[in-house]
Symmetry: C2
Subunit: 256 residues, 2 copies
């Protein structure tokens, strides 16, 4: 299965060759890691020094990051790091659920090939034994298979536009399904969540095979909401939150 990849790129993490890509990846990582706090001004000259790229590719990266939603442009010029609230997380997950539900519905309505259905079932069969195990390695394999499942599902929707839209939402922190799940692999609640998630996947394949679009939609929405449960688990266990990528961008005022 070649799930490994843990030793990817020992020297420079960013193996890409254009300076703009380097700046983009590096900046995204640094923002999500909390190196810059919300509201921090992203002045170009200091960034040039830190990132080791020139101003030209840096500015291209800044434009991209604004489109991704991590930066906000000031009217007077320049960019600052965006701030996210708990309500933003909730909405991001809800919107992701709606869009993935639409993908599942499309897959159901437009008819899935036997080959695609078989691929989904194969993934589910591989996942099934993993949800009963609690070791970290199984968890990682689960995450990988989970991503494969969703990727296949998105392909089956046959809608480049829907893919683009979902990827746009996923570019925000916290919206990603795996963003909130890896941190608490050892907790008992997480195992229960995995069991439910697996059931959702099985139901999704059934619904798509039967061309039941509404059921597929509903299951996918509920499936995304598991991330909300994950969020609550992370928030209820002090200390776990710091492990979540992008946690530094959160305002933890107890609003909702």
């Amino acid at each position: 299965m070649a799930v490994g990849n843990t030793l990817r790129a020992p020297m420079s993490v960013h193996a890409n060759r254009t300076q703009m890509t380097r700046a983009l990846l590096s900046l995204r990582e640094r923002i999500l890691s909390g190196e810059f706090k919300p509201g921090d001004r992203m002045s170009e000259l200091p960034l040039v020094e830190r990132l080791g790229v020139s101003r030209t590719p840096l500015r291209l990266a800044l434009v991209s990051l604004e489109h991704e939603g991590l930066l906000r442009s000031l009217p007077a010029g320049g960019y600052v790091v965006r701030e996210f609230t708990r309500a933003d997380i909730r909405d991001a997950i809800e919107i992701r659920g709606v869009l993935e539900g639409t993908a599942a519905r499309f897959a159901a309505e437009r008819g899935a090939s036997r080959r695609d259905l078989r691929a989904l079932r194969t993934i589910n069969d591989s996942v099934e034994p993993l949800v009963r195990r609690a070791d970290y390695e199984s968890f990682e394999r689960y995450v990988a298979l989970n991503e494969a499942f969703h990727e296949r599902l998105l392909r089956m929707a046959e809608s480049p536009l829907l893919r683009r839209t979902i990827e746009g939402v996923l570019s925000l922190p916290f919206a990603s399904p795996s963003a909130l799940v890896l941190q608490h692999a050892q907790l008992p609640e997480s195992r229960e969540i995995l069991i439910v998630a697996h059931r959702h996947h099985v139901g999704l394949v059934e619904a798509i095979a039967q061309r039941e679009g509404a059921r597929a939609d509903g299951i996918a929405r509920e499936h995304a909401r598991l991330s909300l449960t994950n969020l609550e688990i992370v928030l209820s266990h002090q200390g776990l939150l710091d492990e979540v990528p992008g946690a530094a961008l959160l305002t933890l005022a107890p609003d909702d």
Copy 2:
């Protein structure tokens, strides 16, 4: 003072002051108007000549247009104009319906203020007599009020993320509600569509006021599908299509 700018084209349609914005607006307009065809390479030097801006702001605009979806970046570098199919239009409208349905559901679930509800009803009352008239001026007023209605609804959803997502979809041609509606104002079918659309708006306000999220969602989705009807009308009347902005980006192979 007032030293510079004496030669700054006063008649330029784009009154914005930064060169990047100028390039962005001008390029977007030219692409949608069909000055560039799908697959055309957007070489920088010719564009510099045509747009009158330097390469640096031009490249920033190209990055933005790629994020908007009008351009596609080549692996070897550079950009080409994207191509859209009828399936893309259909999906764009469907996805917009899903997202606006979510906005309406949010507004219903989260509770609308009397003030917001009154504003929506006021708009609807102003629209109501317009749907019975067929002159172009009434049509323009209708479009303006329609946009105000949707803007208000989006505000009532109270979700910056949902707004961002919807605007991302709307940045594509054909996805906009008004994109396909202005061209056939004089056709009798369009009047019927307006009547149905008005009914949708009334139902939306009712559902939101009663906090009936599912009903609001359903109405908004069906409302968006009116654009599909508009699309079919435009496609069935030869010659109308050329008036639609971005029509040149379409492949009119009779696929679906």
